[in-house]
């Protein structure tokens, strides 16, 4: 077998490999990207919602209408931003439990 023949064979094998293995990989990447997109869309919205709900509940308990709701709504916004930041940091360490940025030392 001549050198050129071998080269051609290698090229063909490579092309076949790319065709079978890299396309699914790319598709998987797209699916992951869309999954992250769906996540981000709701991750922020629920923060203020839950914050307002907690504040409203505390107002009912302590008769402090409307102050708790206002304060917890702001906390909720912060929590929403935190949720999004954690989601963007990567699906793995986007757990709500992760230490706040720069607070890694125990």
């Amino acid at each position: 077998m001549s050198n050129d023949d071998l080269k051609k064979q290698i090229e063909e094998a490579r092309a076949a490999y790319t065709k079978t293995y890299e396309r699914p990989l790319k598709q998987e990447g797209q699916a992951k990207g869309m999954a992250l997109g769906f996540r981000l869309a709701t991750e922020f919205v629920v923060g203020p919602l839950v914050g307002a709900a907690i504040g409203w509940g505390l107002d009912l308990v302590f008769q402090t209408k409307p102050w708790m709701m206002i304060i917890w709504l702001m906390f909720g916004f912060a929590a929403g931003v935190l949720n999004v930041l954690r989601a963007v940091k990567g699906l793995q360490d986007s757990t709500g439990n992760g230490p706040v940025e720069g607070a890694e030392e125990e």
Binding site: F38, E43, G51, F75, L91, Q92, G96, V100, E105, E106
Partner: protein
């Protein structure tokens, strides 16, 4: 004549895009004054579970070394979820594999069954998703406290923060934690609800444009093409939402396994 028949078709099909989500009672039950009737939603849930058990049962009954088509599909599903669990939680996370796999398959089947015309989509009702999400959170909290004891509550008090800031950080962490079941359930519910309404409205356009007559009839095929595209998109969303739910279950369970990292 033709207009009349088309109009009656519109009345049957497209007059109410919300109608597909109506619950109907199949069998009336009451326990202690609570209405626990067997509804069409419950029937479709049972149908999904039974279908999943039958399909996976058939696929795995032979256990052939060279898998048949059905067996490979089941193996791919297993490998997909197992890979996800290992990626997210490590090898010791595999004890949660049955939970994650059941959730994934249940939601996937519910979404896919919902794609059949006239079928009911159980996941388009937020209460169903909320029950699933609260189950996940109950497992996270229960297992977290059982495994880590009081240390689990360090979730809400991240270390290395100046003490004054705990006044701010702790409420934010509590909200962030409490928002998880809501975000899990709302995402699935909103996507299924919006998708099915969009599908119905788009399909309704076809009939409406045909009935409108004149030059507008030309636009009907465009709406039809749009409907076909939306159906394809909805199949993708049906899978993706099950995937997102399962992957977030893994992310949250990882907290219970390894709190505070």
């Amino acid at each position: 004549m033709m207009l009349e028949s088309i109009n009656s078709m519109i009345n049957q099909v497209a007059n109410d895009p919300i109608h597909q989500f109506v619950l109907t009672k199949i069998a009336d039950f009451q326990i202690g004054g609570y209405d626990v009737s067997f509804t069409n939603s419950a029937a479709y849930m049972v149908f999904g579970v039974v279908l999943a058990i039958i399909l996976l049962g058939i696929a795995s009954s032979k256990g052939a070394i060279i898998p048949s088509r059905g067996q490979s599909v089941a193996e791919i599903a297993y490998g997909f979820v197992a890979g996800m669990v290992r990626d997210m939680m490590g090898e010791d996370g595999m004890k949660f594999f049955p939970l994650v796999f059941s959730l994934f398959i249940f939601i996937f089947f519910a979404n896919m069954i919902g794609m059949f015309p006239y079928a009911f989509t159980t996941t388009s009702h937020i209460i169903v998703n909320m029950a699933l999400a609260l189950l996940v959170m109950a497992v996270v909290i229960g297992y977290g406290i059982w495994k880590n004891g009081f240390k689990f509550f360090k979730v809400f008090v991240p270390s290395g923060v100046p003490p004054v800031l705990y006044l701010l950080v702790t409420p934010i962490e509590i909200i962030s934690f409490a928002s998880r079941p809501l975000s899990l359930s709302v995402r699935l519910f909103a996507n299924m609800l919006a998708g099915h309404i969009m599908l119905k409205v788009f399909a309704g356009f076809v009939a409406t444009l045909l009935a409108a007559g004149g030059a507008l009839v030309v636009l009907a095929p465009v709406a039809l093409a749009g409907t076909v595209a939306v159906v394809a998109l909805e199949f993708l969303v049906a899978f993706l939402q099950a995937y997102v739910f399962a992957i977030l279950t893994c992310v949250y369970l990882n907290d219970a396994l390894h709190p505070g990292h």
